[in-house]
Symmetry: D2
Subunit: 359 residues, 4 copies
């Protein structure tokens, strides 16, 4: 189903940006897992706007209310339904958009598909706000994974064309924690500063920028994932493309491998310090034949620039069936890539935990 | 399930490279669809080796035998099982590999996951040979799509770092046919010649190269696909990563969008020559919010260099648990990207038809 | 997933009897369908306790709150999440049960499976209370079906061994409405009176009784359903067995057919009054080969006696691992079959609508 | 999908009665499981016709050919495709049936659904012959279950209204083996003799009879199955209704429970001889809340009389759209229930193994 994913751990997202609320139904969580609600709130805060000049002015606490599946602070083994209230909705900003679809948004395709019945205020079900329940679910998954020795981390690999450093071959949990604690989630703060300047420059021009995110999952055993169409890459890619604005996904060195020779791209097997079989390099991103090698699973997602820009844009009037101009008012982030960092982590955690439960 | 994909049109692939045979079970094909077996054979021939100096010397006719689901040349509406016999298997070439996993192959991960029970001769179920039944299924889907006005085409966008031209904004069926008829599937034959020289140079060095493939699907109505996790991108990506050696997938301008500003990346809506609503550019690859815009669906996949190279490589002995060297003998393509072109088309056709049947 | 069903129309039930709330997530409802909330409340009231001497004293309004998927009184085409608050919970009644599993309840199997983590107060996720959200979802489906000319009705076919009349060959919507309006849902009120006396007699003995429910779906076209494992019988049976206490499902004349000869059991085809092809009898329940014939789909479910009885019963102490006695206090219905009548209708409506959307 | 079932162990059936062949694709079998092909042949022989006067004269060896997934006599962990050739097809017998649908067969519903494209010779994909690959798959599952201490057995509980004895409370594997070895699969041979006389009497009248089958699965741990819609009952029922002619399914004492009081129907918990927690009786069929109790899973299926009878029957001509007569010639079993006994075992084994793999 469209807004759900997962096999043994199934997450279904519901809600519209300006409706009563949003939330997630999480089926298949193991029983007896403690949930640290404070840690969850901190994780969710990482994706929220309002923290600095780069984000929209819409501020909502986004505290999930657990309707079911939690008893005395632990999972019961039954479906967890969590709901987040919509409190800060200013529909007025969007009313004039109904007839003139915003370029690169889902307005037009939703209009065609649902014949005008979709509640598209604020982007409706397509709003980036729907990533909040994904983070709530993913935050719980991350806590469960840590207890199994599996760690998930991500950072902004580039923004506005400015590059951050790449993760090292074997990133540790401390590095993940350090990035997660930063207001701007990069490894190299100087580069992060340059990114922020570029983002602010775009905003000053009434424009926006895109970026890329690098994510790694460490501590996985070799042998996770299934062949062909249920490999680690297949499952992650399917869900990652559900994050709004993601237009590319690559594993390991990804597209860069296409320009190399085999002798440059292959990862030689070797014996590690602890006697384990590993690879000397990790250009394949910890995945061979769709199955984990035991090296960190490593991937990158490409995020397009925020479609909402304040500059005038060409579009059409659906009612008049003629070309026209559009100026989008209201709150928009000049860059959403940095806010998507915890969302990518959440997806990685959920897909990983699902695969571990499927074994 | 691992080796299956699709919702209303489900394709399940079976077989091992050196077992009795390989094949596909296709569930959900509409009833009464004529199958042009000659056209199907021509389509399948495009992925086969043995056609020129670039391919391996393993030559098999790969004629699918239809066990079920076809009656008097038409689909019955019931499951179609097709089988392709394995005739040309020289297991001797691979026997010494069982203990020394080939770098960048699935040998090691399969060994860990299936505890040595997997029949990995010739790559087993992970072999590129398993793309033959995918092509058989996809070839049938392509024929059905043409009757609905939908066309699928692909070409080798790059190989060994040499670039082909890109598809034009609105590629037509004649262009797809022209590329499909070529021995080397590129738009610009001069560039194709350069690619082939680079491939042969790599082979002379006992090495291999990678490449990228661009694919387009035209004639689609707006409104196809579902939101969030069942959009066109999600479904295509999940299956495309099932093609061996694919390490990246991007839609429209993909990762390149991440370096642009919104004003450069957004596709303005306009009124087309026939009064239809379309976009002036197609940087989003015909997909917004996961749903088709009516513009061509356009995507690119990155394929890593053939892992099998004849140069000596470092690996480990699983039995001795120590590092060692490996020289891979036998038949290998110095580049598999050009043979993957029809496989990408097959996947695109199957996923597209599935989405059309789901409406 | 355990608590979900449906292919194109997917219903996921969540909540525990004594937790914060219960509810359902409904994915795949068509867009633009008006919801008559008053009619929905009336439908849901039919399954509620507190209406007469036969039901438990637990009274809750059970008004669903719609969190998402409804806009201006119509479905948006996106997931509908509805939530029902738990207000009337007296956990004290159940605390002494935790150690001594109630016979014929899920207490013991849940204890083994979830290692004591399940919140089993009041039956937890296994409580009959979880059928309230199923009715909410099914009530919406019934409204949509009526607009498509499809009607669903059910009645108590027997209770405590007392039989009601059977539905006629071609029951009409007026008959369904008439039964739905009754306080005790039978066709023959004299027999219904006898049933109620038998139920009260059982209660006076500290005991309980079971019953059977007959359901019919009319107005269906021929050709609905898929062969083998996705036929009408397969899909209905899978979900019907999810209603607590259901232990048998049969279609048409069901088990009684096993004792007949073919010449008695076959339904001859004939031409109906309006020139349509139909069958003279309907012993197969409107289904042949899993696919609708156009005659009413007709089935019967068997419901075991309420497991909770006030008589002393033999059980074991889980902590002491020895045999012991149990007296169940608190509120229990001496018969739940009459309250399950709208639940069976809800399931029939949801499965039917799903099949219609899958075509 | 219509002709597939299972979650972690997925069986997809293909083929038409008079096409090239029939078969099954089995995905998810664990790796390294030895297959005893002789035992499998003996199991499959139990469902075959031609063994005595009660069965059709169509004799086919029905030896499955394994195309994939078996290597050196063991499962590889990859999809197993098995194919059974159709050799003994006399299409002429059925040609005059195309226009006049046989009562109680799928001819009419298939005609409406597939618009005449379905290959319905010999019943096509609806033929009882399609249970042969189900038996092949189930026979393998039975062998795997035995290694895990789980045993599956069934017998003809009634035929033509004549009753066999019921299974004892705790049937052992020896009893299952004894029934499986009999030419007519009943516990009480005198009753079996009476059944056979009744069947032959019906045949002499150009008629047919139905029957019921009782099946038990022993050795299961408590805690198998999932709540609500994925319980043991839900999963078994969904697949059992895929066996042709099954019109009813009940667990434990099933419909008979509906006429009892709770004090009669509840199964008291007690401590068994080996200190294990069990129930004194097993009226619930080893399942509470959809989850196994550790007692034998026990269920009954009702099978309608063979629809094909040689007596003249009333039907319609589809081309003339008028009522007419039909006489069915060719081979038909006067009772198929005894041949369905191993099919029910096969389904029980496959569903059980799937649930065990899902844990």
């Amino acid at each position: 189903m469209a807004s759900s994913f997962g096999e043994r751990l199934r997450v279904s997202v519901f809600g519209e940006s300006h409706g009563n609320g949003i939330g997630a139904l999480i089926e298949g969580l193991p029983a007896g897992e403690a949930v640290d609600f404070d840690a969850l709130a901190r994780f969710m805060e990482r994706r929220q706007g309002g923290r600095n000049a780069l984000s929209t002015s819409r501020k909502e606490p986004d505290i999930p209310r657990f309707v079911s599946g939690i008893f005395e602070g632990k999972t019961t083994g039954f479906p967890v339904c969590l709901e987040i209230e919509n409190t800060n909705t200013r529909s007025g900003d969007y009313q004039n958009l109904a007839d003139r679809p915003r370029p690169s948004h889902a307005d037009y395709t939703a209009f065609v598909k649902w014949h005008g019945h979709a509640d598209m205020r604020g982007g409706g079900h397509f709003s980036g706000r729907l990533t909040a329940p994904v983070c709530a679910a993913g935050g719980i998954a991350k806590q469960i994974l840590v207890r199994r020795g599996v760690f998930v981390g991500a950072h902004l690999r580039s923004a506005a064309g400015v590059q951050d450093d790449a993760f090292p071959l074997l990133p540790d949990a401390a590095l993940f924690d350090a990035v997660a604690a930063k207001a701007f989630p990069v490894l190299n703060d100087a580069q992060g500063e340059a990114m922020q300047q570029a983002i602010l420059a775009a905003r000053a021009d009434g424009d926006s920028v895109g970026g890329t995110i690098e994510c790694a999952v460490t501590g996985l055993p070799a042998g996770l994932g299934d062949p062909m169409f249920d490999g680690v890459e297949n499952r992650l890619a399917r869900v990652l493309f559900g994050i709004p604005a993601v237009k590319g996904v690559e594993f390991g060195d990804g597209f860069a491998l296409s320009d190399l020779r085999g002798s440059q791209a292959n990862d030689p097997f070797c014996i590690g310090e602890n006697g384990e079989i590993r690879t000397e390099t990790n250009r394949n991103g910890g995945i061979l034949g769709g199955i984990t090698t035991g090296m960190p699973v490593r991937f990158r997602v490409g995020i397009k620039p925020t479609p909402s820009i304040s500059r005038p844009q060409k579009t059409v009037s659906l009612s008049a069936h003629q070309e026209t101009q559009l100026e989008i008012k209201g709150r928009h982030d000049p860059c959403i890539a940095q806010r998507a960092v915890p969302v990518v982590e959440a997806v990685a955690a959920l897909v990983t935990l699902d695969m571990m439960l499927t074994e």
